[in-house]
Symmetry: C2
Subunit: 137 residues, 2 copies
Amino acid sequence: MNDIVRILKEKGFKVTPQRIAVYNVLMNTKEHPTVEAIYNKLQPMYPTMSLATVYKSLEVFRELNLVQELNVGEDKFRYDANVKQHPHIMCIDCGRVDDVDDEMFFNLKDEVASKTGYELVGQKLYFYGRCPSCKRK
Amino acid sequence: MNDIVRILKEKGFKVTPQRIAVYNVLMNTKEHPTVEAIYNKLQPMYPTMSLATVYKSLEVFRELNLVQELNVGEDKFRYDANVKQHPHIMCIDCGRVDDVDDEMFFNLKDEVASKTGYELVGQKLYFYGRCPSCKRK
DNA sequence: TATGATATGGATAATAATTATTAATTAATA
DNA sequence: TATTAATTAATAATTATTATCCATATCATA
């Protein structure tokens, strides 16, 4: 059985076609889509699904830690089915958002904790630049 | 003469009491205030100043690179008169936002560039945790 | 110092993303 | 299958931000 189905059941949430559809969009992309983008991608297959349902599905997934929310500085959120906190990089020309391998950030948390006196629980690391394809132009 | 006055003049912007007031709030705080917070702080001294004026002043300052905009993941921006890109840390309990010394991030950009193939131009680094005072409770 | 061109401030309306509400529908389970 | 509780979808409400409009303040120039 699909993971998402099992987890929803375990946590007492209902398994609906809409939720599965929203989650599958996120599972099958590397594009870190916005709510709008997810909605648009689902339109052809689920023409009756409303934007509010996309929002609510994402809210449930976030609660269950099945997706993470990104804010790269736009006035809206993007979503990622990869819930491991990892850095992202955005192209300032074309707007695409990519993952950044995070092995180089291993000891960052400890260093920040000792510098600031905070007890660290998380981090959001965003980089900005020109992607390989935009660089060429 | 005040720096802000000189720069506004040089760039052909008019020097108004409102602009100076907004800038001074930012100069004299380490709190990374929101627009609302700036507005509230100015109310006693400038009771006729409107929220729109705060927004517009900040827009000018951002254009002139006199302030930087932060988005720590709230649904609003915070502002900092320190325009050098540096990491921030937010307390998940009380909401305060502090600076993080950035010497430890020196070679980060180069590493990210070589990993991703992007040409790096900037970064936003946010950490989350419990501040020393909230930790004690 | 006075004048006049023009950018700015302040009030308010508009916008856009998100959240709340609600009635009708649907799924889970006895 | 009936009951119950959760969910959907449509819509309204909310909230941060941006745009508009015009009286007014600023400042170069006379």
